[in-house]
């Protein structure tokens, strides 16, 4: 992957934009990325569009609004990891020698509220076996029961990310919250309260990948799925068995990405990780090798994971501040890391950041880990 440079990035902010289509948001992000790379839409050889709810030929609609290019355009769906999967395919096409320059973007316009997913059969919906926040809550229950972490730690993650989000103009929520406000917000599914869950929303992000170019590089990117056994993963099976020793998909992807990049978790300067809910971020830390299982409390207590600390996590504010447009969220993380590694992140800048890791995980238990270096 050492030959894959990111020569341009662009964003449409994440939020709610009534009257703006996903295609229009995609056009905004793509134009910004192409402009930064100093090229036009006819200068890329392939395009990869991550989207989960965009529908047929979503990527074509964005490209058609810019130019008829004749290039291959791939729509990529991998749940919350859709943008990561698109990036992995685009980077692999360059690494394999197929293309010299490709466009990767993600777009989404999510329905409000709990997301309806064709993942569940109609009878499972009728039985009430499909509420995603309940599955997140059950996993949070397990995390608290097995590690000694408490609801205060869940609240601390929200406080951290919302504080970071204040400095991010592309975030949906830019107001700090207190731990007490987090704990006393509406109880959705115990132990998770409303402020502990991210909001599905809308947005777009785009990157230009090139064989040639200086600056930030994709040093490793890996997409993995789940192994059997765990009843509580994003895959949401109806049964599980003893899952002791079952490696989670995040760890599978991280190990692969670290090996590609020739770095380890101790080398990281900045991390963007999936915080669908506050517990999901705490689970990701040991899964990515950032700490031992149960070591999360110490990272929070020592201030390691805030901007200004040893290893800031989610300086963008995370999904808890930005909201989650599924197809765009992974590339939103990549755009954030590119800005961090270039030193362009303004008030949320992680000083001297040279190596960053982005992590997403979602439906199907698709996990994607991307490592960027400069």
């Amino acid at each position: 992957m050492s030959g894959v440079a990111i020569t341009g990035v662009g964003m449409h902010p994440f939020g709610r934009f009534e009257g703006t289509t996903a295609t229009e948001m995609g056009v905004t992000a793509v134009r910004a990325a192409l402009a930064e790379a100093g090229i036009g839409p006819r200068d890329v050889e392939a395009a990869y569009c991550g989207t989960a709810y965009g529908g047929v030929a979503s990527g074509h609609r964005v490209l058609s609004a810019l130019a008829g290019t004749g290039i291959p355009i791939y729509d990529v769906e991998a749940g919350c990891a859709s943008g990561g999967a698109a990036l992995q395919l685009g980077a692999a096409a360059i690494a394999a020698g197929r293309h010299d320059r490709v466009l990767v973007f993600g777009i989404e316009k999510m329905p409000k509220g709990v997301i309806r997913s064709s993942f569940f059969a109609p009878w499972q919906e009728s039985a009430g076996l499909n509420p995603a926040p309940a599955y997140f809550a059950l996993r949070a229950q397990r995390l608290l029961a097995e590690t000694g972490l408490t609801e205060d730690h869940l609240a601390a993650v929200v406080v951290k990310n919302r504080r970071h989000g204040v400095a991010n103009p592309d975030a949906m929520f830019r107001k700090e919250v207190t731990a007490e406000e987090v704990r006393s917000s509406r109880r959705v599914c115990p132990p998770l309260t409303l402020f502990m869950l991210c909001s599905p929303n809308e947005g777009a992000a785009a990157v230009v990948l090139s064989r040639h170019g200086d600056g930030v590089r994709v040093a490793g990117v890996s997409l993995r799925s789940h192994l059997p056994g765990n009843v509580l993963g994003e895959e949401s099976p109806l049964c599980g068995t003893d899952d002791t020793g079952v490696t989670p998909p995040t760890t599978l992807a991280a190990q692969d990405a670290y090996a590609q990049a020739g770095v380890g978790p101790e080398d990281l300067d900045v991390v963007e990780c999936q915080d669908t809910d506050a517990a999901r971020e705490l689970l990701a830390w040991p899964e990515l090798g950032l700490c031992e299982k149960g070591g999360q409390a110490r990272l929070l207590a020592d201030g390691d994971v805030v901007v200004g600390g040893r290893l800031p996590v989610n300086p963008s504010g995370g999904l808890l501040s930005k909201g989650e447009p599924l197809g765009a969220s992974a590339l939103g993380q990549v755009v954030e890391l590119v800005r961090q590694l270039r030193g362009e992140a303004g008030a949320r800048q992680v000083d001297g950041a040279r190596i960053g890791l982005a992590h997403v995980i979602g439906r199907g238990a698709n996990a994607c880990v991307t490592i960027l270096t400069r």
């Binding site: 709990v114 009728s126 009430g128 029961a145 059997p228 049964c239």
Partner: protein, 130 residues
């Protein structure tokens, strides 16, 4: 005539309304699973035999669902969680539970629960309660 099963391949409803979870067992894997799959979902072994699962178990995890998820028109709030079924080896099953008053380690037993089906017609799903 008992209320029909919400999904006959997953839940059997006898004439007297008694419900049974339809699982599978692989002799090669020596593992139980639910719902019954053509192959063992944990190992891929293709020697799955039908297995009526135990009707009792122990609560492992529990939460309460306050707002109806998409496509669900039954009562709220309701409980959702994971029960560890009796017997060996370990099998954890996602299930409805009572909305409140459930704790880790509680002993619970299988019952039918009527909910509106996909077309609004009454159907029986399953719930574990004391």
């Amino acid at each position: 005539m008992a209320t029909p099963s919400i999904e006959p391949s997953v839940l059997r409803v006898d004439d007297d309304g008694r419900v049974t979870l339809l699982g599978g067992w692989s002799a090669t894997s020596r593992l139980r699973h639910f719902p019954r799959s053509p192959v063992c979902p944990f190992t891929g072994a293709d020697d799955v035999a039908p297995l009526d699962l135990p009707r009792s178990g122990t609560v492992w995890l529990h939460t309460t669902v306050q707002a109806p998820p998409p496509g669900y028109t039954g009562p709220t709030p309701y409980g959702l969680g994971v029960v560890e079924l009796d017997g060996e080896p370990l099998l954890r099953v996602v299930t409805r539970l009572p909305a409140e008053g459930v704790a880790r380690g509680d002993r619970v037993h299988l019952h039918g629960e009527e909910v509106p089906g996909p077309e609004g017609e009454p159907v029986l799903t399953w719930v574990f309660r004391s």
